[in-house]
Amino acid sequence: MQEFFNNSGLFFALLGAAIATLMAGIGSAIGVGKAGVAAAGVLAEEPSLFGKVLIFQLLPATQGIYGLLVGFLILSNVGLIGEPKDISVLQGMLYFASALPIAFAGLWSAVYQSKCAVAGISTVAKKPDQMGKAIILPAMVETYAILALLISILAIFGIAAM
């Protein structure tokens, strides 16, 4: 029991890395899938729009990458990648907390960005010349994933410097 308690800092840190990767990844998978369905619909009618609709499909994929980045940073800071380190319970819990912004904002921003991307794909299907404007709208949703990523990264570096 005492051994488990001593090592639970590492457990919480790993849980944080897992939740960041998992939730942001789920959001991206849902988002890319949803946008892909709409993209396939447009391609069935007009294959020449492949390049344009592919960009829309990839927009919700970034949250998964952000989750992966945060997960990787946590793993390397707690010594699960590279040199082993002693992590206290408090540090482990702080790493866990640092993963939460990208985990939740990543999941929901990817889902909602995909809705916006589907609408953008519809716009491009109808008016291919409006690609520039149509892509800005789902890209706006990305802002909130980036803000969450920023906080998660700042928190991880802050904990490492403690």
């Binding site: 949803k34 369905v37 709409a38 993209a39 396939a40 619909g41 447009v42 069935a44 009618e45 007009e46 809705k115 589907v118 609408a119 794909i121 519809s122 716009t123 299907a125 109808k126």
Partner: protein, 322 residues
Amino acid sequence: MQQEYTYAVARIRYRENKLLNDADLNTLLSAKNADAVIRQLRDKGWGDNTGTDDPDSLLRREREKVWEFIDEIVPDKSVFDFLLIPNDFHNLKVAIKSITRDMKPDDMLLHNATIDPMTIYDAVSKREYDSLPDFLAETAKQAMSVLLQTSDGQLCDIIIDKACMEYVEKLGKASSEEIIRLYCELFVASADIKIAIRSAHTKKRLDFIQRSLAACETLDVDRLASAASLSYEDVLKYLETTRYSSAIPAIRVSMSAFEKWCDDTITEAMKPQKWEPFTIGPVVAYLIARENEIKAVRMILSAKINGLSDDVIKERLRMMYV
């Protein structure tokens, strides 16, 4: 969880570009003759490669193409029952009348329905009503026995039409899609209004009118029937108190002007579907828009064939979805 139609809507969005708009209709109207209209339509992808220049075949093929496309993009066609069920009731009418008159029904049957028309024909001819779906079985039995007992074709029509309206109304109420609810309500209300107007003109008795009208949410059918039993002006006076007051100027012009008002009202109501990316609404709107388009082209072709002036047709052309 509500089903999403993302794939179907994406394909519809592309196809919306190919719908005829008001300018296209004006171009068709300005064509020299029906052949020139057909040539222009072929350039826009209408018809198929058979090269037939028969207007009826062209329009029939176009309608078939619409439903082939819908079959491709929507796996469960039952969401469109509200559009197809009236064709089943039409086929029932044709089956009953052709059986009692010993005629062949082939040309009059509509194949775009929820049940194979020959299934209805066989069931009615063998009096095996149980082999029909519930929504048709009782109506078929009742209409057939009325026609055999009274030889009153009008009464038979009333029974079938009313059953059709009641079923469409039920489908509308059961739908979670606003555009379907609106379409079904307007389908029943406009049929009721047309019956009331015709009954007022032909001075039908109150019990006949009451038997013909189907209940709907936006009309008080008892008041409408009473008004129709009095006079045409009383019908309009009653309509002034309903949400159909804006249809009165069209009703005063003619029944076809009123039909145009109904089609335009639906077209106007479905315009927001152009921005809806996930629901069945845009698919329904596309189907109705295509139907209106085919109706408009049929009018233009008949005008060209019969030498009617462009102005007469322009007045009757429906508002286009795009």
